[in-house]
Amino acid sequence: MTEKNQKKPESEEVETERVDETPGTYDTPAVDIYETDDAIVVEADVPGVARDGVEVKIDSGVLSILGRATRTSAPGVTRLYEEFTRGDYYRAFALGEEVAEGGIAATVSNGVLTVSLPRARDTRVRKIEVK
């Protein structure tokens, strides 16, 4: 993977804004959520969003992802047919207790935002070797 967009753990953030009060209209991105041996991974389709347009936050056990699309507006352009808006994306998820506090990583590539949340130590899958 090429780009990394590290977010600080919540204790270092000074904002008091609640995650579910973001103003504005947003599209809801389609997501896949799955778990691997040591992490829970959220993959969201956010076409049109570049690395600097992404905000990933954790607040009181709620993970929120916000993707701002890079605007392309040119004068003198006539719109003929439109199936998608080049809008911003927002979605929030309540996290269970299996997510560890720190070490959350987020990357954006080709319009897909991937957030990896490490599982707390004792919830990780441990394979037991059979002798």
Partner: protein, 149 residues
């Protein structure tokens, strides 16, 4: 992801297909182009804009690399096809939610103007494919100069 047209036996789906067909046909007075698949089932979703010089088609293709998409124009129809592959090296043990599809896709769009096929350009960035199709000179408005003698 292959969707075939055909008679629908489900009443609600027939109603939806009927509504989609209305949108396909210039119903609202501005130009709507016929597409071959029902809008909400089609991938990629597309936008089309024009200037006097060119048509631009934008396709939403998150997670698709430039090697996995193929663009062609023939007989006034633009075809975008390819495959959306899941990221390599990832081994999900269990899914909690699965809303995104993977696999081959194909979509064809009829172009409202004649284009100059040799100078079509395409750029894929942040999951949006932008195809610029310069209009053929015959399709561009031409100003006729009036000479005064």
């Amino acid at each position: 992801m292959f969707f075939a047209w055909g008679p629908n036996l489900n009443v609600f789906e027939r109603l939806r297909d009927e509504m989609n067909r209305l949108f396909d046909r210039r119903f609202f007075g501005h130009r709507m182009l016929p597409v071959w698949m029902a809008p909400e089932r089609a991938f990629p979703r597309v936008n089309m804009t024009e200037t006097t010089d060119a048509l631009t088609v934008e396709c939403e293709l998150p997670g698709v690399g430039s090697d996995d998409v193929d663009i062609s124009v023939e007989g006034g129809v633009l075809t975008v096809k390819g495959e959306r592959k899941p990221p390599e090296g990832r081994v999900p043990e269990r899914y909690y939610r699965r809303e995104r599809g993977f696999g081959p896709f194909e979509r064809s769009i009829e172009l409202p103007s004649r284009v100059d096929v040799d100078s079509i350009g395409a750029k894929l960035s942040d999951g949006v494919l932008e195809i610029v199709l310069p209009k053929h000179p015959d399709s561009k408005p031409r100003r006729i100069e009036v000479k005064v003698k």
